[in-house]
């Protein structure tokens, strides 16, 4: 019965917070004393939107953007130029009749800010994080300087006046309360859409990239594309916000966006809690209202710099004392908790169609593969094959090239020469995300889980390729995606039960025992529905009984229809589970055969024990 209620309860608490917030937000203009405070509230909403947009970059994906306001500027000027410069000044329209132009401005801002996001985001595909920070700063300055100096288009430092207020037909919404409600609608739409995207393959891909980019790509995530997508989404939110801001203010000039605003928005994200959903909301609300209160203090009136200074001080102290920010609620990356009843153990491979390849036929053919690093030859010329239905052990002394080989097979490093063919397709030269999609999954020598996610969320990342889709579809929360996700969760439950860690499904992976972490990592790899699984020293650090249990798991993986390549230092494990063994030494294959043959091979004995043995 605990199980039953635990399913209903989170749903209730999950809706409770947004519901309370929504009620407060709707009533706020009636509670606040006077128009000045309603204006403050509207400004807070603008900052909530900006901070939530920036949070996609900084909080979720782990990309620093110090020029985020540039996108906001692009949005604000898009509508100002379109409405005032083009339609009023050039085409002679009456500004009071232009309310129908607003949606067009929105789309225009969305597109232009999105393009700006692409331009800025493109180098992230390759540049290092800190270079990127400098670049975003420079990009932000370029946009600001252009807006000041391109006088013909932007009105220079005077800016653009006479932007029509929000209106529906003849009804002008000019009162502070009306403005507030219009912006509130925008914020609610943004947050609802964002929540949909966060609890989808897109949100999980972003967090996975932040946590461990290499592992993310080994799960089939095209990491570059998702980083770019983060820029585009963040930029679009800022652009849309800029449009609303321009119509709310009815004028814009370069003073509307100072350089410090970039820092302020970033600070609000940090203050509230980067990478949480409500953090930016809390941070922006607290700060904007605090700032409005502080404006009445004489000391702040005499020294306006204290405002930014104080915020900066908070951030410096916060980074030392509480780097997570005020809100500590972890992000929920999926909306359902999975099935409460223990499922039958099953691997993902059993779900698919029957395998056309006959048992014993080669599935992976490695032909004369070599890899050199500078002058060092890690792999000379390695050839072997993995056959359908087997566990192939890969052994060799330290430095033999096992890990390099595994990296080459999984697309992490490209081979210098030779070819790798998997089920008829060449996979050498493919990026690791494409190798994963072809059906080759891997684990890592040291456990590499997404530590900030739960076990189930980790597994859902493994199902990325099956669940991915179009961002607007996730933002709209289409039922099709919800069903797909539910099905993937059921599958994840079965795979976890198969790996013996179903009981841990709702725990955060950082709290698991070492043995469980290993098993979750294997389960996550199985969630990609691999046809071939590469295990990199899975027994390292395990005790004897854990190793025994692991051996039966590996055998069960093979029996369920996934072929296995096993790198292992534990000879007992390797000899007992492997059907065949390939021995590497100094980057060359020195022996291939059944465990018994390998054990008696003189070359192997020499490699391990020296020539006197």
């Amino acid at each position: 019965m605990i199980v039953k209620s635990s399913r209903a309860l989170p749903r209730l608490t999950r809706l409770a917070i947004p519901a309370v917030l929504a009620i407060v937000a709707v009533l706020l203009p009636f509670i606040l004393p006077g128009d000045r405070w309603v204006r403050v509230a509207a400004l807070a909403l603008i900052y909530i939107a900006l901070a939530s947009g920036l949070n996609i970059l900084v909080g979720l994906t782990g990309l620093l953007d110090l020029g985020f306001i540039a996108f906001f500027i692009v949005g604000a000027y898009t509508t100002a130029i379109l409405t005032v410069q083009l339609f009023v000044n050039q085409l002679g329209f009456d500004p009071d009749t232009l309310w129908w132009l607003f949606p067009i401005s929105l789309v225009g801002a969305l597109v232009l800010a999105g393009i700006a996001g692409c331009i800025l985001g493109y180098p992230t595909l390759r540049a290092r994080g800190d270079y990127l920070a400098i670049m975003t700063l420079a990009f932000g300055e370029i946009v600001r300087l252009v807006s000041i100096n391109w006088i013909g288009l932007t009105g220079g430092s005077v800016g653009i006046r006479g932007i029509p207020p929000f209106a529906i037909g003849d009804l002008e919404l000019t009162s502070p309360s009306a403005n507030y409600y219009v912006v509130l609608v925008m914020v609610v739409v943004i947050l609802v859409a964002l929540a949909g995207v966060v609890a989808s393959p897109v949100g999980r891909a972003w967090v996975a990239i932040r946590e461990d980019e290499l592992v993310a790509s080994s799960m089939g995530i095209r990491t570059r594309r998702y980083k770019l997508l983060a820029y585009v989404c963040g930029a679009s939110i800022a652009g849309v916000t800029g449009v609303f801001f321009a119509h709310m203010q009815q004028f814009i000039n370069p003073d509307s966006f100072t350089l410090e605003d970039n820092f302020i928005v970033l600070s609000l994200v940090i203050l509230g809690g980067a990478g949480t959903f409500w953090g930016p909301v809390v941070g922006a609300t607290l700060w904007i209202f605090f700032q409005a209160i502080a404006r009445d203090w004489t000391i702040v009136q005499e020294h306006p710099e204290f405002r930014t200074g104080f915020l900066a001080l908070i951030v410096v102290v916060l980074m030392i004392v509480r780097p997570g920010g005020i809100v500590s609620r972890k992000l929920k990356l999926t909306r359902s908790g999975g099935d409460p009843e223990r499922p039958a153990p099953r691997t993902a491979a059993e779900v698919g169609e029957p395998d056309p390849v006959e048992a014993g036929a080669p599935v992976l053919v490695v032909d004369a593969v070599g890899r050199t690093f500078g002058g060092l030859t890690a792999l000379g010329s390695v050839s072997f094959e993995v056959r359908r239905g087997e566990i192939l052990g890969l052994m060799g002394p330290n430095g033999a090239g096992k890990s390099t080989l595994l990296n080459v097979l999984s697309g992490v490093t490209k081979p210098s020469r030779g070819s790798i063919t998997f089920r008829g397709d060449r996979i050498d030269g493919l990026d690791s995300d494409r190798v994963s999609v072809k059906g080759v999954a891997r684990t890592f020598q040291t456990v590499r889980l997404f530590w900030q996610m739960t076990v189930l969320e980790n597994l859902l990342v493994g199902a990325h390729e099956r669940l991915r889709g179009w961002v607007p579809a996730f933002a709209l929360r289409l039922p099709r995606h919800r069903h797909d996700e539910a099905r993937a969760l059921t599958e994840a439950g079965s795979v976890l039960e198969f790996a013996g860690v179903w009981d841990e499904r709702t725990r955060r992976t950082s709290t698991l025992s070492y043995d469980s972490q290993r098993r979750v990592e294997i389960a996550r790899a199985l969630m990609t529905r691999p046809k071939l699984l590469l295990l990199d020293e899975p027994a390292a650090g395990m005790n004897e009984s854990e190793t025994k249990a692991l051996a039966s798991l590996i055998t069960a993986i093979r029996d369920s229809g996934t072929d296995v390549v096993l790198i292992e230092h534990d000879m007992d494990l390797l000899m007992s589970v492997s059907d065949r063994i390939v021995v590497l030494d100094h980057g060359e294959v020195i022996a291939t055969g059944t465990p018994d043959e390998v054990r008696r091979n003189p070359a192997v004995l020499e490699a391990y024990l020296g020539s006197d043995a």
């Binding site: 100096n149 200074g309 104080f310």
Partner: protein, 302 residues
């Protein structure tokens, strides 16, 4: 033309000095210390206040020490060094093992905080800096040359050379290079890594403060926000030269200085877009060569 080139070299020398600060701290700590722009500012104000007979700090009047120019510059350098050291000890040291993103955020926050402190102490408007008495402008090949430009360029090149020699040939320089290459290994070899990092900050801050002093002398003002744009350009220069390399950073500074002066002089409307050009160069570089012009690609390890 000569005039533009000399001017460009002087401006470039200032950017170069500041770029060296960014570069060397990046080398040791792997982070961009945005606050060097503010150390630049404090250096300039330190020298200004030390040279003045009377001065206003935080709105109150004080009698200044009215030191001679060379001593005032020394005070400016010390002020810069102290600010740099305090920043490192208070804000960065607790984050030694924090993710790079946290360090960058702290760096930008420290920069904002110092700018606010600067505004509080020295006011929001520009303070005039009296021009040093270096004699009249003279003519070479038909171009009027300001002596200050020659001085700035010479000082910048000597200071960078000395700094480079220090890092290359002295024991502390060796410790700095060892820490930059592998902090843990350096610690295991008995190097006091924290001390090395602090030293690097102090040395970098001296360079940044010197750049700030030269800048305020050249343009005749000091202001709380004066460090931001030069700081950004110096970062561009450091990236251009491959961040972490001292000669690279300095040459990068010269390239940026020359480019923007040439653009301001010869491109139509170039003066208004002077800053855009420098930043445009950066965006372009990172598009084409994300690791910087002279930088190497980093290899990831699994």
């Amino acid at each position: 033309m000569t005039q533009v080139l000399i001017n460009g070299l002087a401006v470039g020398g200032i950017y170069g000095l500041l770029a060296v600060s960014f570069s060397v701290v990046y080398g040791v700590l792997g982070m961009v210390n945005f606050a060097f722009g503010e150390v630049f500012m404090f250096g300039a104000f330190g020298a200004l206040v030390a040279a003045a007979a009377n001065t206003q700090i935080a709105g109150a009047d004080f009698a200044g020490p009215a030191l001679p120019q060379w001593a005032a510059i020394g005070v400016g350098l010390v002020v810069g060094a102290v600010v740099g050291l305090l920043v490192e000890r208070i804000a960065y040291k607790p984050l030694r093992n924090a993710p790079i993103l946290s360090m960058l955020i702290t760096a930008i926050a420290v920069s904002m905080l110092l700018r606010a402190v600067g505004t509080f102490l020295f006011g929001a408007s520009q303070s005039p800096v009296p021009a040093p008495d270096l004699g009249e402008a003279f003519e070479v090949l038909g171009a009027r040359i300001q002596p200050i430009d020659i001085v700035i360029f010479s000082v910048a090149i000597v200071a960078t050379g000395a700094f480079w020699a220090l890092v290359k040939f002295t024991p502390i320089g060796r410790a700095i290079r060892a820490t930059a290459q592998d902090r843990d290994a350096a610690r295991l070899m008995g190097i006091g890594v924290d001390k090395v990092i602090s030293t690097t900050f102090v040395l970098g801050s001296v360079m940044a403060a010197l750049a700030g002093i030269l800048y305020s002398q050249k343009y005749g003002f000091a202001a709380a926000g004066m460090g931001f744009i030069p700081g950004l350009k110096a970062l561009v220069a450091a990236v251009l030269g491959g961040i972490g390399s001292i000669p690279g950073a300095f040459v990068g500074g010269l390239v940026i200085g020359l480019t923007e002066e040439l653009a301001a002089a010869y491109v139509p409307e170039g003066a208004a877009y002077r800053d855009v050009i420098a930043f445009g160069v950066l965006v372009l570089i990172l598009w084409l060569r994300p690791q910087g012009i002279l930088g190497r690609r980093e290899v990831q390890k699994v």
